[in-house]
Chain length 334, copies 4
């Protein structure tokens, strides 16, 4: 199976490496980046035969069966539509887009072309979250009643990134919106957002927030909360708790080692893994395995285009709730 990678930035390189080195029978046949030198560097390292600065050249290659889209968000839908029309299966990073109209156009193109589209919500493939999902599915905690997601980054992104990110809710919280749907297995009907700028006034000046608590009201009665911060000084804080009629399941952070030291002053251990590359490295491989398997065996993907669309709606609703200080129903967003 030959794959083309479009976008050779940080996440593009991770996917290219996993495809080239860790997925038997998969070959990265082409790589594109508008910065040709970035594509070339990765191509050299991984023996990728075709390098280009134009993704359309990748789509034109008949050898290629699937593409992995890791370019800038505002290019996603154009590439999805072109790839679908070229008959390529598609893996696309989150978010699909910030415009629901453009998302809908892309999803329509995918449907019409009968190609597969998987969205890069890698955390669904992380061992901790999978175990939580399993606990719910297997009835270990009874009927879910409360969901609490903690999701804090170690430090804010550069201000230049904040300014074009679309805002924390669609850039960062979007992973948590997806996780909420994935874990509970039901849709959210309304959100209420309490948020603020508690870390860096420059983020506020850019029109964004850096701290948020979002309440989710699920159709099945579950009450969810998402606790976001752009800066946890102790590292990447990624935990979840689901409480139900039969019990509660809680995950902790992942640590680089299990050593605990009791000194004369206190009992301590090293900080948790610092950021998403360490924390979720394995999930990037697992999601790509799933995508490759779905294409090869012609099965349904585990994260659909609709799964990519709904969190964008939730992000827009969360922002409106913050702006208007009131609960907002998702069906208000269109």
């Amino acid at each position: 199976m030959n794959v083309g990678v479009i976008g050779a930035g940080r996440i593009g390189k991770i996917h290219a490496e996993n495809l080239a080195l860790r997925l038997p029978g998969v070959r990265v046949y082409a790589i594109a980046d508008i910065a040709r030198s970035a594509a070339e560097a990765t191509a050299r390292q991984l023996n990728i035969p075709v390098v280009t600065n134009d993704y359309r050249e990748v789509l034109a290659l008949p050898e290629i069966e699937a593409v992995v889209i890791c370019s800038a968000t505002d290019t996603h839908t154009d590439i999805i539509i072109a790839a679908a029309q070229a008959g390529k299966h598609i893996f696309c990073e989150k978010p699909i887009d910030l415009s629901l109209a453009r998302i809908d156009a892309a999803l329509a193109a995918v449907e019409q072309a009968h190609v597969k589209l998987q969205i890069g919500f890698n955390r669904r493939f992380d061992a901790n979250y999978r175990r939580v999902r399993q606990a719910i599915s297997d009835g270990e905690i009874g009927t879910p009643q409360r969901l609490h997601i903690v999701s804090r980054d170690p430090q804010p992104p550069p201000l230049s990134y904040v300014q074009v990110s679309g805002g924390m809710f669609v850039d960062m919280t979007i992973h948590d919106f997806d996780m909420a749907r994935f874990l509970i297995g039901a849709e959210v009907e309304a959100v209420y957002t309490a948020a603020g700028v508690l870390i860096d006034p420059a983020i506020g000046a850019a029109g964004d927030v850096d701290t948020a608590l979002i309440v989710l009201k699920f159709a099945n009665g579950v009450i969810g909360t998402i606790d976001n911060s752009r800066q946890a000084v102790y590292g990447y804080d990624q935990r979840v708790e689901v409480f139900g009629s039969g019990g509660v399941v809680t995950t902790g952070n992942n640590y680089p080692n299990s050593a605990v030291i009791s000194s004369g002053a206190n009992v301590y251990r090293d900080l948790p893994l610092n950021f998403f590359l360490e924390r979720y490295m394995n999930s990037y491989l697992t999601e790509m395995q799933a995508f490759v398997a779905a294409v090869r065996e012609d099965q349904a993907v585990l994260v659909t285009g609709q799964d990519g669309r709904v969190p964008v709606v939730m992000g827009l609703a969360a922002r409106r709730s913050y702006d208007e200080n009131r609960p907002v129903r998702l069906d208000e967003i269109s």
Copy 2:
């Protein structure tokens, strides 16, 4: 120091025992309960000389310096006022009352009589919460930004109790409202409540909820959440997390022992302490030590009448928020 105990129910007996057996130099001189036999049973066990079914007889005893009010909530303010007029120092269980007008009358009587009034928010004296407060006071986590309180009971109270309790927000959440103010050291300006009846429809039929998530907006920008359930099948779930600019502090539940067993099936330990009597037993003693010390050394009490009033306001606001599905400012409540 001679003390009179008014109300010989579950909590009254705890206070009577602590006063009689574990506080050197303190004597329980009288005990009153409208059910005289309850007062007599406790008196026999603890060698309390005076037994009555009329609290006014206790207040009339010149030997008595202070009273501990553990009677039904709707009798609190009358007894506070009478005790203050009799010149007795007062320890009163929470909530003071469900009517702000009656609370204000009681607080005015206390102020006029120059007696001390301490409210029974015992959790402030629990070792876990004190350590969290200390972490904040000592700057161990920098400036607080997020507070998350988990407070779940092992099972709902009897329906007859639910019907007269004033509702979960003033009966159960009131402890958490106090804890929120105690830990953050600032006032709440507005609340938003998402709640429902997920455990027992009979609770809903009685006009109450059994599951709630309450968002607190503090004056200093902190965003708080309180996570309540009337039924956690694994026992009493009492945890807190405060996240700040310099770190995070988290407490866990208390367990009857530290044994962990790895079997062929999983790794397990016993359930946490089941309910508040086990979990908070020591804090009941510590709060009473503090009250006795405040009286003896004529110092300010650590939980004031105002500390007893504000959580009632918060409870009323939380209910209104739920009823009207909108954020409610505390200054709307009067």
Copy 3:
């Protein structure tokens, strides 16, 4: 039930308080200490009517049903014999004595007088160890194969104490020898000791060791280890692990609170409880409850005279093993 306390030192005061304040229906009727002022101080605090510097006066009181012996070790057997002859039930602190001949004389006197004798191995009544024992009894870990006891003090006792203590094995390890027998429910046949002076050369100059690892070979095939140190800078370290054919059970230390703080440097919590008074306070009460119950209900005590004798044999064998650097069978000790 009237009790006499003989010895008003640290542990004597603990027992007197538990008897006087926390055991309903029990009265401390007399207290003796060769330092009369120590006895008087405790008597004043607890309203003990009779005070003396001569334990024989306590034994002469017909009102007294039982005595609690907390005096110096070298007085234990004389007092036990006299108390037995006076028909009093006896609770005696560990070790009974360092001479097996004197121990045997005391046990014979007890047997002849048909009085009860309970030895103060309080750790058997601690919640953690009881849970381990229960795990074994209930078959939760199958057939035990390995026992590992960690028992470390926060700091060495004064050198003056070391010099008269009889050595670490009969003074400190004796608790662990008892625990080994209690948990495994079988006898030890041989021991091997590796030990040294790693903390304070003065302890070595006094003929004692401060660090030891003792291997226990049980009659039922279990291999035990006891890990002792006179100085753990992080506090009192009291843990146990029992490994069996069906699993493993492990206990941790007890902590003053459950707060865990993640800072920018590491993840930490407060040190465990510092020493035996905090760590085992509750077990002192529970052992005394058991003694009182055994006397009142005329039932067998839970820690017999024989249970007090065997650990002394083990201590002597452990020392001989260290001196001769070879495994020593307990039946070599007489």
Copy 4:
């Protein structure tokens, strides 16, 4: 850098994969196994050009710079000697051999040929143990005084393997002997072994033990213990504790996920990783990175031939101690 892999069994395949897929710039050029089909299967999967059933063909290839020896233990020294004479750098699995004379001959050949030899004690490269070593090196726990290693397999190897393994001490404990030296950074002078057959009588009939406790006396006064079992029903149990004058460091097991579930019955989590392939997978990669770096940069290897020899001496001493039930000095073994 071209590498030849000799032995295509379980561990040979792991090394071949790591070399071929995860070490940039390294190529597996040849693979040998006396079962040619095993070598062919791995060669096919990893695109290894040369396949043979005779390791001498690998050594004859001028393209090859280093060999990785994963064949049966009794072939190690012959291959080491031949490889050294062929001027190849050598990575060899543990144990080098069970005969000290043959080990010495191999080490002499390596020294004479001025090639590098690294022994496959992969656990030195595991994150948990490295952190413990760092705690000691950095002085976080002061001067080490006690070492306790727990090392238990999930189930015994097949009896056919037990019969040719040389016994548990040189087959399984050898890793722990190496770990003891690695962590403490000092040599062991004497050992004492308590052991037995508690799991499977057939192991005893084969002349081996399945349960052991080995006491290590280090030259620097540290007292060590190694706790081995061939069968821990809960999975692979690999923990260590080092106690020192300034504190204690303890590691726990590694788990597949961090989810903890509180049910109505107990609080539980999944079992730890089941065996060494999962538990130590990453350390196999890290040790090979270190070997490749040592060859490329002509630096000293981190696990020397002497590091491979001493644990064999310790294993022989441990067995003699068990046979003769006495402490055995390492210098008794020759």
